[in-house]
Symmetry: C2
Subunit: 114 residues, 2 copies
Amino acid sequence: MAIKELPVLRTRGACCELPRVSERWADQTSELMKALADPTRLTMVASLWKADAPICICDFTAGLGLSQPTISHHMAKLKEAGLVDSEKRGVWVYYRLREKLTPATRRLLAQLIG
Amino acid sequence: MAIKELPVLRTRGACCELPRVSERWADQTSELMKALADPTRLTMVASLWKADAPICICDFTAGLGLSQPTISHHMAKLKEAGLVDSEKRGVWVYYRLREKLTPATRRLLAQLIG
DNA sequence: CACATCCATCGATGATTGTGGATGGATATG
DNA sequence: CATATCCATCCACAATCATCGATGGATGTG
């Protein structure tokens, strides 16, 4: 299939300009993508999204086939990305999707999961 | 702030079940996220999205502050992820967003960029 | 036919990441 | 108090990744 809208003439050594893309946007967005660029973390976020209720770390440790330090590690990454919040209740630590997610972030998750 | 919907009683050593999350979905989606989990690749995709026209590799090499092999490397990743297509025209190779993007993927990019 | 330009690939390197064992703190429970 | 459970942190290791120099093929120009 042919691509249209190609420049008919082009001189060698002469480059065209790119559309302006905010560097800050790229950095911030890539950070969010990195947080979601792992099957385990995606499963965690989807679980919290679907449950719409806090979930305990021990449940993730039991449900996913990974060690407890690994689960904690992934949760810390999600928390660092601002996607989840945690609350300690007795011996347990419960995680939930962050209350004040950006509408854009919420729509993104809805697009990904819902 | 208190988190509601926490189980009032919970016995130690007993874990709850997680909402079912498709493993295939997690793997596939994480692959897509990985493709977008880099500022350079995000800038590339956003440029192609905004330009809505093919862009030459040499323009990316000139516009972003990276070497030509690095630019090619990133484009190969985007292509492998099914996000872009390429066509050779003379000495130049033009990339564009893939024609047949999944509606879900297209909405995702619109959500991210638009 | 030389020569220059554009680009993909290869190889190497330094940085980041996913994973789990070990440890210690915090919190019940008997 | 002694013990068991839950969890975050530390440490180590293998794997992946982003980057670039070097190289060679493809294409167009003089």
